[in-house]
């Protein structure tokens, strides 16, 4: 039987290049592919509100033409060998992910460095991209799940906080972003400082280090700005709610949640285990059992814990018949209250511990899975031997730890609630 070898300092090579780039490599010769993943240390947190969507726009425009490749030749080079590369702007990072057959790794890394370092933002391409982004905004305005989440963020985070705003911008801001804005954002925020690149797959470590060094080690940007400190986010101590009518829809989407823990928070794993019990384990956890299985109220009702660099949301998400909104919200609130007020049972603790530890062989099966895991180790400062102590960390969690974590983030009657869908026959009822 194959042995599960957990990625660790024994088989991950970590190097820091003099210009601030951190490189991590792990070999896997059982696959034919090589996966390259990582991030540049900038994102929507670096935008001003008037330029909302600028980071994502800039990231999307990187592959629209560079100093040495126009749009057509860049994509022709990639696609002709069956390789792929995506670059997208997030809140705290511009992330990239590429994949190719191993013989094409030099090409993939060359295109990556070309896009990150030398974009030219050609005007005709920018206008084309702008149109696509605006149509995307139009489509999302009709998407009940997206719009419920959008309204939720406005309720859960104060206006001055970047999480209050959308990542992708609004029609007004995208319409006004100029070519010069893109150049400026790139010049001021893209650079090697704090850049992470992870290479996993059918490649020798020395070759990977050489290729990445050739591509990126001479990149310097003395103007590169650091990402700003996030303003504090208060716990929610009252119910903030809003509903948005989108005519012609059949289903209403509900998002109910609070700002959650940072990935680096000491109670992150306890929160994660609580979330697993609430809305994941055994087909959506307690929420799935109550709302989908017992009462047939929704096709989906689950919970999600973001746990990133900042206080990402801890949310419950449900799609229901519009006549069932209030009943569903009441049942969601009852489950959160129960989690806050009662210790979870030993069997539930054991179930979730078993799942969170047992899933590793599946998570680490593919090059992408290994690369994402190594990336998280680096990004969140978990250490390269994080997985070696992971079982002990999870197994040491107690029901009291779980309850404390829930009580810390979910205050009694303190949450944000957004509903998007057809007009509701009755108003949202926030009484018990």
């Amino acid at each position: 039987m194959a042995l599960l070898t957990l990625p660790s300092s024994q088989d991950i090579t970590r190097q820091q290049l003099p210009n601030g780039i951190t490189l991590l490599v792990r070999e896997n010769f059982s696959a034919q592919s090589v996966v390259v993943t990582g991030m540049v240390a900038t994102g929507a947190v670096n935008e001003i509100p008037e330029k909302q969507g600028l980071a994502a726009f800039t990231a999307a425009a990187l592959m629209r033409g560079t100093a040495s490749r126009d749009f057509a030749s860049l994509h022709d080079d990639l696609e002709s060998v069956g390789a792929s590369l995506q670059i997208s702007g997030g809140m705290h990072s511009v992330s990239f992910g590429g994949k190719c057959l191993h013989e094409d790794t030099p090409l993939l890394l060359d295109i990556l460095q070309d896009a990150l370092r030398s974009p030219v933002f050609p005007e005709n391409q920018i206008e084309r991209l702008r149109g696509e982004l605006l149509t995307g905004i139009q489509i999302r305005q009709q998407n009940t799940r997206f719009m419920a989440d959008r309204r939720f963020r406005e309720l859960a985070y104060p206006p001055a906080h970047p999480y209050h705003r959308g990542l992708l911008g609004e029609a007004e801001t995208i319409g006004q972003i100029t070519q010069e804005d893109l150049h400026t954002f790139h010049r001021e925020h893209f650079g090697p400082q704090d850049l992470i690149v992870v290479v996993v797959g059918h490649i020798e470590t020395d070759a990977a280090i050489r290729l990445v060094s050739d591509a990126l080690s001479d990149w310097a940007n003395p103007h590169q700005r650091r990402t700003p400190e996030l303003p504090a986010v208060p716990y929610l101590n009252a119910i903030h709610h809003q509903s948005q009518v989108i005519p012609g829809k059949s289903q209403a989407d509900i998002v109910l949640g609070v700002p959650g823990p940072l990935r680096a928070a000491p109670d992150f794993q306890a929160s994660r285990l609580a979330n697993n019990i609430l809305g994941i384990f055994g087909m959506y956890g307690r929420l799935g059992l109550e709302i989908r299985e017992k009462h047939g109220l929704a096709y989906y009702c689950y919970s999600h814990l973001a746990g990133g660099i900042g206080p990402g949301a801890w949310r419950v998400i449900a799609g229901v018949d519009p006549t069932n909104v209030n009943q569903t919200v009441r049942r969601i609130r009852a489950e959160i209250k129960r989690l806050r007020e009662e210790l979870v049972s030993p069997s539930e603790m054991e179930d979730s511990r078993s799942q969170l530890t047992g899933i590793l062989p599946l998570q680490l099966e593919s090059n992408e899975g290994v690369a994402n895991t190594i990336f998280a180790m680096e990004r969140y400062g978990l250490g390269l031997d994080y997985l070696l102590t992971y079982h002990d960390t999870i197994n040491a969690l107690t029901a009291e730890d779980v309850q404390r974590a829930v009580a810390r983030y979910w205050k009694p009657d303190g949450f944000a609630l957004a509903v998007a869908g057809p007009e509701l026959r009755e108003a949202i009822d926030t009484s018990w």
């Binding site: 039987m1 002709s80 696509e132 012609g248 047939g296 109220l297 096709y299 018949d321 062989p361 599946l362």
Partner: protein, 429 residues
Amino acid sequence: MSYENVSRHVLDNGMVIILKEVHTAPVISWWVLYRVGSRNEQAGETGISHWVEHMMFKGTPRFPAGSLDRAIDRAGGTWNAHTWLDHTAYHATLPADRIDLALEMEADRMVNASFEPAEVEAERTVIISERQGSENHPSFWLREEVQAAAFRVHPYHHQIIGDMADLRTLSRENLFQHYHRYYMPNNAIGVAVGDFDSDAMLARIRQYYGSLPAGKPISDIQAREPQQLEERRITVEREGNTSYVQIAYHVPAATHDDWICLSALDSILGGPSGPGGGEIGHRTSRLYKGLVETQLAAGVSCDLSMTVDPYLLKFTAVVRDGRNHAEVETAIDNEIARLQERLVADNELTRAKKQAHAAYAYSNETVTGQAYYLAYSENVGGYQLFLDYPQRLAAVTAEDIRTVARRYLQKEKRTVGWFVPIGPRPANS
């Protein structure tokens, strides 16, 4: 029988078993695919296959509702199911030393699913909610109407989720009969891929499935779609703010010799097709260049499926703000005409073949993906359809592509649908 490290076996009760050893990670994926999907549904019972799939998660006397979900999660596994035109498939991927759980519970629910009346009723609202979720997307309404117009006779006419009227009226007896008719070993394909010894795995499969009784043989559906002789056009007007165009041409089944040539055509027009193709971009495809680069569309796709019976090659475009349906439709027509008139350039064909090679390699990097493609292709014409895909595509010539473009992409064989967004309807309409 063994081919490319894949072995195929038939149990005495008729269940087909396909095995492939992969020893790169300590995981195994086990799939059971039943040869029943929306293709096997009659008017008045649309959506029944999908609903039965949901009921399979509602437990058996031995494994009550919810216990299976918990058992799989406790083992660190994942499981799921889906219903398609031609099949209903269940799978679990688990750490290799826990695979007996999947083998045992899948065998149990093949014959012992409970279909408790209260569970059926609770699931009715869940399924209606699932359909309502789809209805929230304008493209669903367009797809439903285009497909219904393209097929007058064949059950590919309706959506897999089923019509809302049927979801309100189907009974527990309807569902149970459907289950009894189609869920039996001689209508099932079992596929295991992963970290096992094939002889030992086959013995375990025999242990769990070998004694299940074969059921009454199922006669294949008789419906044959008559040849379409004129273009059909439909317009869907609903609330929204974005326009869509969909054009669907009748094309042959996956076992037809022309299918692989259409797959090459699909790659040239819309980007990498075939197993694993979704991982590769499509910005060098002709449709992207002809519609997105020209700023007529915000997105465009071309979609060919491997199906048991003749189905559709579908083009779908999101009309860019400020442009109109007719312009987009004309641009798609122009790309088709170009393909019918001139031979595809060598470099385009070479690219499609290299893409297929890479995509196939990617699709072989997870046990779940491999098992899925083996089970799927075994149902439509033999598991070799998956294994041979890159080689078959490599044999396609530019002449072949032009021939199938001329043969199948004819206006009288197509259905054109426009989604036209309108403002809010009055509240009482």
